[in-house]
Symmetry: C2
Subunit: 422 residues, 2 copies
Amino acid sequence: MKYSSCFAKTSKTAPADADSANAKFLIQAGFVDQTMAGVYTWLPFGLAVLRKVEQIVREEMNALGALEIFMPSLHPKEFWEATNRWDNVDILFKIHSQTDKDYALGASHEEVVTPLAKKFIESYKNLPFATYQINTKFRDELRAKSGVLRGREFRMKDMYSFHTSQEDLSTFYQKTLEAYVRAYSRCGLNVKVVEASGGIFTKNPSHEFQALTDAGEDTILACSTCEFGQNIEVATVKEGDACPKCGGVISTVKGIEVGNIFDLGTKYSDAFDLNFTDESGERKKVLMGCYGIGTSRLVGAIVEACHDDRGMIWPKSVAPFQVHLVTLNSKDDVVKEQIEGTASDLVRDLEAQGVEVLWDDREDVSPGAKFADADLIGAPLRVIISEKSLKEESVEWKERSSSESRLIKVTDVIADVIEFVK
Amino acid sequence: MKYSSCFAKTSKTAPADADSANAKFLIQAGFVDQTMAGVYTWLPFGLAVLRKVEQIVREEMNALGALEIFMPSLHPKEFWEATNRWDNVDILFKIHSQTDKDYALGASHEEVVTPLAKKFIESYKNLPFATYQINTKFRDELRAKSGVLRGREFRMKDMYSFHTSQEDLSTFYQKTLEAYVRAYSRCGLNVKVVEASGGIFTKNPSHEFQALTDAGEDTILACSTCEFGQNIEVATVKEGDACPKCGGVISTVKGIEVGNIFDLGTKYSDAFDLNFTDESGERKKVLMGCYGIGTSRLVGAIVEACHDDRGMIWPKSVAPFQVHLVTLNSKDDVVKEQIEGTASDLVRDLEAQGVEVLWDDREDVSPGAKFADADLIGAPLRVIISEKSLKEESVEWKERSSSESRLIKVTDVIADVIEFVK
């Protein structure tokens, strides 16, 4: 893709009111636009990252055997009254319609998925199952902050599971916990699993997932070897202790919560009278779990964990594109044509191999400004084609995560890039 | 995929209150669930169809050079006041937040995209461009009806284009019109292009796209050869006339509106003071177009156009899966194992070739009930493996759109299916 054909470009200056690295860089790089406090448009590059993150999460949920659905955001008031949350969840947006009906705007979807599941659950033969969606959530936060980390409207993957026994629920819960760790790892994050309270969802045990970054809001005591962690407020281990799980060393770190899972027990089954007939013909309550990952928040957490002073440093798995190709102008028309021809061939050949390339083809922008934009945008690999490099029949190769650059023969570029993006 | 592993199954009976074929079949087949009037959950098979429709639309928009973005559903009141639509669009959902702010819930996105575009448009060098999203829309309809055809919450692709001149806008408008016709055709619909009024969007010319089906709400005079059509209320042609475009024969038909496009002129540029500097340095208003396809409505229109008494008949391009594999039980354990082995191999080999297969592996369901479900679900091809067919070393092959079935040798099935789904 040619950068000249993308309307959403970088800004010369960072937004004045950015309160976090993700807000600063995502906005300045043209990845998101702030419509108002806590509400964003995902622009082409930002949407590309969000899609990749969501696809990784989707693949991990599918691997659990969960089926994807898509639930509505308009919820009947009665469903939220049934769970006693209409009046008790202060972040719930409420709407009064011209047909005189009251709706809640989906802040979470237990109130929709439980009555839905009830339509398909008759006996133990219909259980267990899990279903999930990736959708927009709405929460009437008193204070939106930290860019896409805490918005009033955000993206979330929420999965719900239904079981006949605590044992079956616990087994699935554990499998999901492991799938979460895999998903975060695939997104390039170092995540610790921390025991947590159930908040507005349940009084049963729950876990939250903390992405380690100095910008984190939460302080946790975490093992430096395995994924064990404890929130400092309830920690039973202290710095320097041996990890109770693997024997590694416990240290104090900062984290951003990027997901949580809850053993819901029968809280929602009780509210909606969700029962099944067991093998002996007895009617029993269905046990439920719920499992959330804020996917847009996850994008923000990746930026918090992966950036430097100059901009973002995307992990290859979620970068909007792998290669940022920069061509430098030449005053010599023949050389200029040679540079453009080399770039054009390279883009064609790389794209044919499935490599995503952004080509900064702008003619009225200085090399320094192009390099600054490449650093800000943060693609894993920058390839420069210039009069100077072509004299050596080469391109300049610079990885975003490294300060060094080197010349690579034009004839080697395709193979080297394919090796790099693997 | 095994049908036994899908929680959202068919119902024995159609919903009592279904007012349309799409409501009846989509709900009975377990493709959607009605949360409340005009509000639906898309269940796994329904979501598969919706995704395919949206991907076709996405590809056609990308081919126009439009870039995909994702805009929020919470809109600041001030933006809708700026266009004078806060008080004048009666289907606008309004929300009052606990922070004492008023929001509109996205019924359309001119109010978000125009201020967004303004941040990136300085001069003629930034123009033209087009951008689109595929997102949920909310409209406070007085009366929701006809299943997913008119909901209060629905899916839509909305594209917006920005131009320096009427000529440039008109050229892009015409290209989009042609892309729409291609998109509908790829979805298996016969669509006519009808001149329309601009409704709440503009007083400039606009076109709507009518999918031909006897269940249509609108009466149009349409050419039987080309895509020409006129709404009967404003028609200048009559039945039997020669088509003014191609000379074909005009006849009276029924249609469902499945999209519309608008030349917005400077309506929104005026409201938000969206200007550009032209080549002579003069500041001018940007010209805009907007282009909508209700993608969930499109799924409903496909059902209206493609069904019979027994259920849906999905066009191959948007079917949730191409092959509905039915295995029939045998009381003989050896034969039963043979049937399951053949089915299992077939599923594995077809999926390896990228063919999507639903395997109705249920053991406690009669052949008649399985066939009825296959007809209801409407996959293009039904393949039956039974004791009887295996005696002939064959499977039974029946296309949903045909009443005939025939035996095909097991060894030929893969090649024949791959030829069929091409």
